[in-house]
């Protein structure tokens, strides 16, 4: 029945600060065994009396299929709202209700090609595991990590262990190069001759990662972050316009057909100011005078 996904009541075994974020380790038997880099988990929030019905989604930072406690999953959480504040206030041994692994993982190149991995803020969380997986396959891997400020960078030290090189940018210059990841990305692609760029972070960053990659002859694979009500493909809230192999644009579910998409397939032109339009040429788009 499981079809690659389980729901399990796990147990928090560790929570520690990591700059502006919280790093949580949860025993979640069954999840780790099935997971690949780029997939995510959906965590219930608020406990039995919760008014917050919807699960919160988090990229898998790392997984340990076995261990003292059984399989564990690690996530990096930015406490921004009711649900993430609840999660980051949990204490060891508290139950955590997990559904996962969810979504499509980062596709791995068949050949050992050089790769650049770009993370914005907590978006870097899944990249270290991805970097290690790529290097096991013989890829040269460099990381570009960016954030607004130093405390919002995640995993710079970890990155030095996982990748061949780490480049850091911050908007305010409090660490690394002052500026955006896109300011340094082109140079890194050129120098490493990367043919794949993986990206995870805010939408605007993913768009420019896609553009810079294209300009330097690389393919971008980006993990998007859309509001998701279910995370499992049943609600149709998480859609975005993506052009298929047939050249036609459809509103596709980022929870099951994503969150990883080829950057050049995403219709960035439809995204503006927090709203994603349905492109006029999308399959089934509203036509003047109704459908």
């Amino acid at each position: 029945m499981s079809g690659g996904v389980v729901r399990v009541t796990g147990e928090l075994i560790a929570v520690r600060r990591a700059g502006a974020y919280h790093h949580l380790t949860v025993v979640a038997p069954g999840v780790a065994e099935l997971a690949h880099p780029g997939q995510f988990v959906a965590l219930a929030v608020g406990g039995p009396t919760s008014a917050n019905l919807l699960r919160r989604c988090f990229s898998l930072h790392r997984v340990k299929p076995s261990g003292t406690y059984g399989g564990t999953v690690d996530v990096v959480v930015s406490a921004v709202g009711a649900g993430t504040r609840w999660l980051t206030a949990l204490r060891p041994h508290d139950p955590v209700d997990v559904v996962g692994p969810l979504g499509r993982a980062f596709p791995l190149p068949a050949e050992p090609v050089p790769c650049v991995l770009v993370g914005g803020g907590y978006g870097s969380a899944p990249l270290f595991w991805l970097a290690e997986t790529l290097r096991e396959r013989g890829c040269h891997v460099e990381l570009v990590l960016g954030a607004a400020s130093e405390d919002r960078l995640f995993g710079v030290v970890e990155g030095r262990r996982s990748a061949d090189a780490v480049h850091v940018t911050t908007d305010d210059g409090s660490a690394g190069t002052k500026g955006w990841v896109s300011d340094v990305l082109g140079e890194v692609i050129e120098r490493t001759k990367a043919s794949v760029v993986y990206g995870c972070g805010p939408m605007a960053m993913l768009r420019s990662v896609t553009e810079v990659a294209a300009a330097h002859g690389a393919v971008a694979q980006v993990a998007v972050e859309e509001s998701m009500a279910c995370g499992i493909g049943v609600c149709m809230t998480c859609v975005l316009p993506v052009t298929g192999a047939d050249g036609r644009t459809r509103m596709v579910r980022s929870c099951v057909e994503g969150p990883v998409f080829r950057g050049d397939r995403v219709r960035w032109d439809a995204l503006d100011g927090g709203i994603t339009r349905v492109p006029d040429d999308a399959v089934g788009a509203p036509r003047p005078g109704g459908h």
Partner: protein
């Protein structure tokens, strides 16, 4: 263990728990969590004639004990449904309640015409006419807000669905008098009623100071609305018991998360119950609600589920 079978017109189902339309896609995703054939019936996402992209995003906003959605009936259209989805459900042994809609009354008919010729048709245990969708011909006013439009749609759907197959009209609670709409639907030949669809709502994003949904308004669902669903079922059932409406089966939906929630709708008069938004919290919610409802019926010592339907009317002292 109690006999959980329930009757929807001529159709008998092994148990009264279903998915709610639009909250379970067309089965494949949930089948990873439990066999879809465990449910009394599987209600499909509302299907229209043509493929539809739905509305822009954001399409959802969480609210206290609920959520707002404005999917806009995104779907592949009836052709793909008949070719891909229905046969798959049939193969799994699911009993399928097919939710249909149209922008005009006639479009409902076209959808049904195609549906009944599908090779998967034998798996269909009923058709649910989602009349809580906008009527293009009437300034986009929802069909189920108006008895005349409701009547027209139900008459067409009833006329095209083979006589042995039940037709349910799905009503919106956003009306002054839900009994009047129920009366119109039953008068036009509906076998029964599904109540309720979502309540119209708006959430304002207090950072951007604009509506959170790109489409401005959306439908409110989840536990927040359970008391409204129970009330709607109660009112219509009371009218039936008072002889003001013909007796007909009611499918209760709105806010069900537990077996006890389902029991509220059943005791108020529902012969079956659909689980919607709760599935987003717990992917196996429909299956779990069934188990919990069975346990509730057993706890109360009833031998048959059917004996509990509407029981709260009998146990209420005259006012």
């Amino acid at each position: 263990m109690a006999d959980m079978t329930t009757a929807l017109g001529a159709t008998r189902l092994p148990n009264p728990v279903m998915t709610a339309s639009g909250c379970a896609a067309n089965g494949k995703e949930l089948h990873r969590f439990f066999p879809v054939s465990d449910l009394g019936a599987f209600t499909t996402k509302t299907v229209m004639r043509d493929p539809r992209s739905g509305r822009p995003t954001p399409r959802m906003a969480e609210t206290d004990s609920g959520m707002l959605n404005s999917i806009g009936l995104q779907g592949p259209g009836i052709e793909t449904f008949c070719v891909d989805d229905l046969p798959w459900l049939a193969t799994q042994g699911a009993r399928v309640l097919v939710s249909v809609a149209g922008g005009t009354a006639e479009e409902f008919g076209e959808v049904v015409d195609r549906l009944v010729t599908s090779p998967g048709w034998p798996a269909v245990v009923g058709v649910e006419a989602n009349i809580s969708c906008p009527n293009v011909a009437n300034r986009g006013l929802v069909f189920a807000c108006d008895p005349v439009s409701s009547e027209r749609v139900v008459r067409i759907v009833r006329g095209r669905v083979p006589a042995g197959t039940p037709v349910f009209a799905k009503l919106t609670p956003d009306v002054t008098d839900v009994v009047a709409i129920a009366s119109a639907a039953l008068g036009a030949g509906a076998t029964g009623l599904t109540m309720i669809n979502t309540l119209l709502g708006v959430v304002v994003d207090t950072d951007r100071l604009r509506p959170r949904l790109a489409g401005v308004t959306g439908g409110l669902s989840g536990p927040a609305i359970l008391p409204v669903a129970v009330r709607a079922v109660w009112q219509v059932t009371a009218a039936m018991r008072a002889g003001l409406l013909p007796r007909a089966p009611v499918i209760g939906v709105g806010g069900v998360r537990t077996g006890a929630d389902a029991l509220q709708l059943v005791a108020a008069g529902a012969s079956a119950v659909q689980v919607g938004t709760a599935t987003f919290n717990d992917p196996s919610a429909p299956r779990r609600v069934l188990a919990e409802l069975e346990a509730e019926i057993d706890r109360h010592g009833f031998d048959r589920f059917a004996d509990v339907v509407g029981i709260a009317h009998e146990r209420t002292a005259a006012p």
